[in-house]
Symmetry: C2
Subunit: 502 residues, 2 copies
Amino acid sequence: MIASIDPSTGATTEVFDVPAEDLDRLGERARAAHRELEGAGRSGRAAMLRAMAAAVEERRTALVAVADRETGLGRQRLNAELTRTAYQLEFFADVLDDGAYLEAAIDHAGSTPMGQRPDLRRILVPLGPVAVFGAANFPFAFSVPGGDTASALAAGCSVIAKVHPAHPATSLLSRDALLAGARAAGLSTDVVSLVYRDETAARLVQHPDITAVGFTGSLRVGRLLADLAAARPSPIPFYGELGAVNTFVVGRAAARDRGAQIGDGLAASFMLGVGQFCTKPGIAVVPSGAAGSALTQALVDRVAAAGAGIMLSERIADAYADGAESLLAAAGVEVLARGGDGPAEGFRGSPLLLRARPDALEGPLLEECFGPELIVVEYDTDDDALTTLRRFGPALTATIHADDEDRRLATRLLDHAHRTAGRVVWNGYPTGVAVAWAMHHGGPYAATTNALHTSVGASAIRRWLRPVCFQDVPQELLPDELRDVPEHGRTPRRVSGTLDRG
Amino acid sequence: MIASIDPSTGATTEVFDVPAEDLDRLGERARAAHRELEGAGRSGRAAMLRAMAAAVEERRTALVAVADRETGLGRQRLNAELTRTAYQLEFFADVLDDGAYLEAAIDHAGSTPMGQRPDLRRILVPLGPVAVFGAANFPFAFSVPGGDTASALAAGCSVIAKVHPAHPATSLLSRDALLAGARAAGLSTDVVSLVYRDETAARLVQHPDITAVGFTGSLRVGRLLADLAAARPSPIPFYGELGAVNTFVVGRAAARDRGAQIGDGLAASFMLGVGQFCTKPGIAVVPSGAAGSALTQALVDRVAAAGAGIMLSERIADAYADGAESLLAAAGVEVLARGGDGPAEGFRGSPLLLRARPDALEGPLLEECFGPELIVVEYDTDDDALTTLRRFGPALTATIHADDEDRRLATRLLDHAHRTAGRVVWNGYPTGVAVAWAMHHGGPYAATTNALHTSVGASAIRRWLRPVCFQDVPQELLPDELRDVPEHGRTPRRVSGTLDRG
């Protein structure tokens, strides 16, 4: 029995009677669906993704209503997330139309300093069925119809999605939309299937039919599953988008000249969605003394004026309360401001603004606290700011606010940031991850379990593909994109070492 | 004490007094060298790689002589391998000149269905110091001056190389060549350092300064080290090019029309370099009855006429002898031919041609036997051929010999091959891996520990790079390749979604 719970009341609003989950049967169907996706070619998969986007749009009202009931994220945010999710499905259709993602390359037979070389043609092919773990905090964009699913289907991989327990009804309705899209494109409804039970998670990662895993969630669960993926008889790639403390540093001149504005923006960013973003800034490194005072004051005012929000689940609200308690108990930590009580019932989380002494940064202060919490740390010298930053591990984002006068510090911050973060944000706010060709959402461990790949943006498709080289294979037996004259349109390729836009 | 042993006599010809290996010190130097490589930019690293190639060429006579003394591979082969190794260093300089490997992408700020998007610019940056494990069977091309080192240095990663115990003197001289190249290009000699001791291997993979590992070697050692890499507090990518049973299938018409020719070619391929290739065909699936007889006869004749060869080390010769013994002891296996005795002394391995009943394929018959051994399995129907192939795990290569009449079987074979092998060879032989843009040398586990990446060819550089996205960062603080108008030449980029060849 899986319960759909309304976090704004704590009440169970719906119960699903989920039968025992037979992964062998799901795996067999997923293998067949993977071949069907492969056989549909780029144009067939692009048509399917566009039909899925349309089917998601058609169900907008119902999807937003059920997601709001299950997550408490609010209709405005969920409408925006649904727009993004549909856009993302269409975006991967564009990536398919473009075709450069195949990394197609042709080296004609010829002589080399090592003797005669055969005809070599390289392309990327899909891995097979993959597992996708939905995230609590993005019931659409990082869940059943989200980026992992969209990019995997685009690649030609069928998906077995593990539903997040925080939104089973949303997941079921999302799957209906995806399958309507698959049917509209003449493809099997086995391209996406769901599993619900938490006890199925480990078995799914270990199942021989699964060839890769996309995961968005906590470090604890992510690492557990990543370790299982690595320990399989045949290890598989595990793309865990986990979390870390995203840093936010403000130069002295920037703080002096626009401290209140930065403070307002930072407050909005860390409290956005009740702080339930993996890109939430967790630590603000600001100048000591007068330069930093306007910024800190703006933060204090904003937090004091804010109320508690409804968090995604009881577990998440409890974890946030525990995390806040650990921080408050730590030495060298003081409370700058707290938010108000907010709603009278439900799984509430109230904003919390702390200040920590630089020498107090250890233990829980260096770990992600998932929720509307921010720690301010002051610095005297540029070296002090860098020393504070170096206490933290890698993260998804590193934000730098700097004006021209801050350039010396900023250059050092940028050098550190590009080594330790997936995205470097300049004079902006890290929450909000655009779906775009140039986006990267990732970073060194523990931001993710695989620093080489992204979970957002065009190149997210690369996670589900592996190269194959065809040596001297006759034209008519080659994948279309590797033929001298492809039948189905143009594809960017590297031919005899030179890029050809196709 | 590390001994250099001549495998043609078993005698110790040189002894190195290797001090205790201080990885903290090596790691610190490697981190500084990594920053230096990064700072040198693409042109600086390309100049270094070309100087390294020249320095390897300058030492050709000495390098070939010492490698021959340590490996017994013969001067002709080793001269060819050295040519390939120098070419490979130059090839990665070409990859740097080209610049497409950076996957540079620019999305200008603009409005989207989700609202205003900031300016986003994505590029790949080097991971940091990496570890490279030299292979016994390629003292140049897959060892200290080999493809892992060349691609890592090209990426901007410094290298700590674990010397293979089969060729310490060759490794030392190779390092001298690389460091002469680094000096000639004005770079630190810490870009490549060596460790020798087997007991250092595990510590190296686990050392916090190491950000990735390239390994070529056995499944047993590779898996052991891959597990250590995955179990680190911060897991790192482990690129293990291991090994498996490479399949070789011959259609009925092909066997009938050119069986003797295929048999000659196959015999030469599996006995090449005393069978010590990871791409060695290990199983030949040939038609039963008259169609297959000329092929089998050619194999028998070639093997019976061949003598034993000198293997790389005592350990490898012993493992080959043990492997052959296991195969001979298996049920359903018969000897078709054996090679002669060969040299009177040294670590010898003699060719062995076996035939196995299809229903006997289990245990050792499904595992790689590193050495000049080939198992022939006959098939009656197309289904039988596929059934036999499906008994084997993924491999680096899958070879298909087929004529027009074999087209129905060949189509099925090709479908199976592209799902289970890294390279599909048509009417050819799998030994020999060209250094080229379109090469892929890899495959699903246990061919490698990471199916997504290659250890040979231009895209081998991708293993040492991770993406970073710069959001709204000012022009003058961006990496040159991401500026609106780069200072240092042209780079292929994707700008606003469209490929620009630069």
